[in-house]
Symmetry: C2
DNA sequence: CGGAATTTTGAAACCTTTCAAATTGGGTGG
DNA sequence: CCACCCAATTTGAAAGGTTTCAAAATTCCG
């Protein structure tokens, strides 16, 4: 039992939630119980479909997903990424319709997001604020940046978020995305993503091998594109 | 008194809020009182600054504002537009920091957003949901669309929103933006916005004169770019 | 080991930006 | 009411970044 509890608190999802706001015992118990009701999805599974009623809110336990908009000719734009510890479908109004499709990018484990008590509401509110801030970053990325800056900026976001939930090892972290998906996120063509990535590697900015990325100088890259860490609350 | 009350309900801001959710008498009274405490800003006034603590939530009574990200070299990207009836700074977590700068684009009148009772909370939740949906649209616009589609898409958004709050007359509505600002919103250069707009006029898609836009066939334009009206709730 | 998915390459076409200058338009003061 | 000025729009030409298409090379997985 003790072992299990320990393991529980080391889960990236729980780590993230704890960093957003202090969790009391009741919240931790509710979360541990919710984890027991987790369900599993394969890559390309659609967790939520744009325009359809939203399901109950869920917590990403492990794996990556993306919010996406698709257009008729098959192209798609990733709006944001959902990583372990992120919340899907938390809503403040009745009868909500999904404003985006959510698709699993890897094997994905979700569990119900327990909503007992004000502590968890607090945490979800923080989570929501971060989510919105990253949406704004994504707009600035697409509207203001060139190809290589877009990719740098997105990788820095991954690094920041994966550091928060304990999934980064220093400047290294797993990115389970193909270049095609990176293109869907950055509004570029796959071919161009490939070329820009090669240039970044040759320039010594990063190493990308076997699904793992190492940013050689995250702070330097951030400075180069004028990026500051995302903050949503004073405390 | 009766006259005043009538005028009150015809304000675009109030019209919008009423469409989001039914307002009970208490809410209407609170709103009318809040309008009495309105304050006025000139173009370029900064209502909120990215990274600084957020002020109390406010309601846009009249005029246009934009949420923006700026970079050091003076360029800026508009993230979204704030029109009469929109809410600025409504937040669900404590000690919030602004994740974007809000700047007045015209003469702007704001009033405190009253927060008495569940009715108004409901309305603000709906407003928030729309705001997020339009942010997602903006991402898709920048990531997926070509110049002319971006502009069309944005004008359709304006038309939709200004219809909701009663500020559109059929297919015609005021757009108090210069081409330079349209460029800031669409991630294009001013020069290119100019050329695309000329083409749209010559193609008979729209008329833009004296700050007023007429879309000759909104539904046709929407179909051309695959746009559906934004919906956030089933009801 | 074989087959599918992913990454890589080349060259040409395309869209968009940049720069600089001319033109138009709107508002102000004389 | 006209002259003037500043802001906004318009124009041209050249440079630049990105896409497209098609095919080759590589990697991954069963």
């Amino acid at each position: 039992m003790l072992r299990r509890a320990l393991n529980f608190e080391e889960q990236p999802a729980i780590r993230r939630l704890r960093r957003l706001a202090p969790l009391d015992n009741g919240a931790l118990i509710a979360l541990e119980r919710a984890l027991g009701a987790a369900s599993r999805f394969g890559p390309r599974a659609e967790i939520q479909v744009e325009g359809e009623p939203m399901a109950e809110p869920r917590l990403v336990v492990s794996g990556w997903a993306a919010r996406a908009r698709m257009v008729s000719d098959g192209r798609q734009q990733y709006l944001s990424f959902l990583l372990p510890g992120d919340i899907i479908g938390w809503c403040y109004h009745p009868d909500p319709l999904a404003s985006s499709t959510v698709v699993a990018l890897t094997d994905l484990v979700l569990c119900p997001a327990p909503s007992d008590g004000p502590t968890l509401h607090q945490v979800y509110a923080m989570s929501r604020a971060y989510e919105e801030a990253y949406l704004l970053d994504q707009i600035a990325r697409l509207g203001l940046f060139h190809a290589s800056e877009r990719i740098t900026s997105l990788l820095l976001e991954f690094h920041e978020r994966l550091s928060l939930n304990g999934m980064a090892q220093g400047h290294t972290f797993a990115v389970p995305l193909t270049q095609e998906r990176l293109a869907d996120a950055t509004g570029l063509s796959t071919v161009h993503v490939n070329r820009v990535l090669q240039q970044a590697r040759r320039g010594g900015d990063l190493v990308w091998q076997h699904g793992r990325v190492t940013l050689n100088d995250p702070a330097g890259l951030a400075a180069r594109i004028g990026r500051a860490p995302v903050r949503v609350s004073r405390s």
